[in-house]
Symmetry: C2
Subunit: 214 residues, 2 copies
Amino acid sequence: MTEVGDRRVRRTRRNLAEALTDLILERGYDAITVQDILDRADIGRSTFYAHFRDKEALLLSCFDDLRDDLRRDLDAMTPGVELHDSGQPSIVVFAHAYRHRRVYRALCGRHGGNIVYGHLHTLLAAALRTHLAPHLAASGSPIPAEAMAEFYTSGLLGILTWWVNQGFPHGPAHVAQMYGAMANPGIVAAIGHLPHSDTPPTTPSHRDTDLPTE
Amino acid sequence: MTEVGDRRVRRTRRNLAEALTDLILERGYDAITVQDILDRADIGRSTFYAHFRDKEALLLSCFDDLRDDLRRDLDAMTPGVELHDSGQPSIVVFAHAYRHRRVYRALCGRHGGNIVYGHLHTLLAAALRTHLAPHLAASGSPIPAEAMAEFYTSGLLGILTWWVNQGFPHGPAHVAQMYGAMANPGIVAAIGHLPHSDTPPTTPSHRDTDLPTE
DNA sequence: TTCGCTTCCGTACACTGTGTTCGATTATCT
DNA sequence: AGATAATCGAACACAGTGTACGGAAGCGAA
């Protein structure tokens, strides 16, 4: 498709992405027409279709940047080990969301529609499955790995969207700890232990290294 | 609007509902046009709009019947007590889904779209909040009730949709037990105990009262 | 059965939004 | 400065939506 060397191309894509996220936050994704985006971004109709097939392609393009970023952070974790009591994958996700608050508000909030949610769900489920699989295999748990990944992925996304929709209270570390307090006991029960956990996850209280609320 | 005493009305609504769920299972909700429903149901265009404002209204009408049924089942539980280790609200939901497999497959499966999911989420979150609130108040947990309801609702819906999309393996009791095995340890950790639980939920093995797979 | 009422049908229509085409114009890179 | 490539804008065909209305037919009750 179009290359990224040209300044005009960068300007066009940047304007379109910004217009889309703006409009999502104002009216919600479903209520937006292509013409709305064009007017807001001050971009010609034919130009838009030279870059994206439709509205959804633009949305996914916006999401892909975030997605690649997040995947890099997730892949940076050592799989199978270093599951602290706060939950390794979750803290990465929450920190990432906090770092890109505005985009998360648009894409993962109440107005974002289900498209992004589905893709994010797939991404996180794969990451969780990778982290859980070795432990599950060793413990002989009767619960299928897919079901576990499904449960904890949905729970994580539930807390994430709740956090986003509330306007990011409490800072990422605190939210990650809340998630860990609810998720880890179940994981311990299924696996039998939690690698590298010196403190029992049943009583999370002090040790709060939070950033101030936005 | 239209009354329900007339045989023609019942026939129209029944045909429309059946056509919709059929088409959802075949192509997915988003790919369906009103005209498609009309052709399948053999109903005139103007007749459709005499009953429903649009496609979504028809979908919600289908969902409302289920919703009322499920809510009755949920309200039949004594709030605050009788939380077995399998998880009271969850077993009700899973049993209800199993009883209405076909509709759940259409409305809550991969093809159902996000509309139903959102409404079901709201309903279940309210039910869970009702069940958890008294225990949370007594235990002084640092986790806000909204966050807990969000987490366990999302997890429940995650397992539910996974179960639905897999074609209902394992029977409702078994799935409810899986959910309980993952969810209850976290609830115990937050609340401090689980009312009326004589057996620890950490090792769910025998005691399977399942129905055979469909 | 017949009467009155309601629903249903079918067509036609206005309208909104989509995605494409193409020649003219303008910005960018080298 | 000149070749290249992106943008613009207007026009177009198309699909789907929701409404209006007159005639036909089914329904419940007497």
